[in-house]
């Protein structure tokens, strides 16, 4: 937006933090847009007159964000929309690589476990975003928090694997037709979400997660090497993608 470029870095950060705070508090998107735009205009005019941001929002951005938040209506329906989208996206990302291996069977415990882990992950993510938006000065803290949120599902999934070994529950098998239908739905979901979010991130993740395994499986390399190589490609690729997006983001900010 051309208006935003004129704002000082401090004001811009505040507007961004406010947006994240309100969003993770479950506020209505349209209302969020309205108030952030209004404040942007205000900050811009105030800055032109040489006023400091403290003169506008007071000494505690957190208190000010809470004040604004209190006057806004909650929009749980929109929240549900995001939760459903994240759940579907996570499942599709999980299912497609396994489909390529040609087997798909889950125990009831696994299915329930996956859903519970996804919900825990979503809750943690929203909560940490809300927390992060009010501690805007400590990048180290932010990084620590986000990485622990990212590690939580990994630990939980490992726990689930052991749990699944310890308790026997009925197993749901997917036959050939069910495999094809599930695969098609999963691919459509990924494509749909990518269009909706106007982002390549899911498609890139999907390719990085599924292709290395698939192609390495066709070679005669030993299983162990396959595991290491595919892991390197997947996580290296994700790292590269994040780095690349970060560069792009910085460029567009200047």
């Amino acid at each position: 937006m051309k208006n935003e470029q004129k704002l000082s870095h401090q004001s811009n950060t505040f507007i961004e933090d406010l947006r994240v705070y309100l969003f993770s508090s479950g506020k209505n998107e349209r209302e969020i847009k309205e108030i952030t735009e209004e404040l942007e205009v205000h900050l811009q005019e105030a800055e032109q007159k040489g006023k400091s941001i403290e003169k506008i929002i007071g000494n505690s951005p957190k208190e000010y964000m809470e004040m604004i938040s209190k006057e806004m209506s909650n929009d749980y329906l929109a929240w549900m929309k995001y939760i459903v989208i994240i759940l579907l996206g996570m499942f599709s990302l999980n299912i497609i690589p396994e489909l390529l291996n040609g087997i798909l069977s889950y125990s009831v415990l696994e299915i329930i476990g996956h859903i519970v882990i996804a919900l825990i992950f979503i809750t943690f993510t929203f909560a940490s975003f809300k927390y992060i938006s009010v501690i805007s000065h400590s990048n180290k803290k932010k990084l620590m928090l986000l990485s622990s949120v990212a590690f939580t599902p990994i630990i939980l999934f490992i726990g689930l694997i052991y749990l699944n070994r310890a308790f026997e529950t009925p197993i749901v098998h997917f036959n050939q037709i069910a495999l094809i239908i599930t695969g098609a739905i999963a691919v459509l979901i990924i494509i749909g979400i990518s269009f909706w979010a106007k982002s390549w991130v899911l498609i890139i993740l999907l390719l990085l997660l599924s292709l290395p395994d698939y192609f390495l499986g066709k070679t005669s390399i030993t299983d162990e090497t396959q595991l290491i190589v595919s892991g390197l490609i997947t996580y290296g690729g994700i790292g590269l993608y994040i780095w690349f997006s970060y560069k792009q983001h910085n460029k567009s900010q200047q």
Binding site: N3, E38, A46, I57, G58, I68, E71
Partner: protein, 117 residues
């Protein structure tokens, strides 16, 4: 109660009066309040107030393009808002005269008739 807390209810009424006089946007209101001497509060405080007033249908708003570029949100008073302003003015008159009376009488009668042990 902090000054800011006490000010909020009063600023509500002042905003209604400013908006009634002329369709206006946030920054302009803040400037006006400052001109009138309200300079200790943070300007942004007016937005949560405006949001509530809009929810209570005391004011309505439209977005307008300005010469400067960004779209400004202009507020105007609804009928309900005008009524609220009248009420505020009455309440304020009453409060003001009460406080004045207390301050005037009590500081004059200092020492006599007051409770002493």
């Amino acid at each position: 109660m902090s000054t800011t807390q006490m000010l909020k209810g009063i600023i509500d009424g002042c905003l209604l009066a400013i908006i009634k006089n002329k369709e206006t946007y946030g920054y302009e209101m803040a400037e006006k309040l400052e001109e009138y001497g309200f300079d200790s509060f943070s300007e942004g405080t007016i937005y949560p107030l405006l949001m509530r007033m809009q929810k209570e249908k005391l004011v309505s708003s439209t977005l307008k393009k300005s010469t400067a570029g960004p779209r400004r949100k202009y507020y105007s008073l609804t009928e309900k808002g005008e009524l609220e302003l009248e009420n505020f003015m009455k309440r304020w008159e009453q409060l003001q005269s009460n406080v004045n009376n207390v301050l005037h009488n009590e500081s004059q009668n200092e020492g006599d008739g007051t409770i002493e042990k």
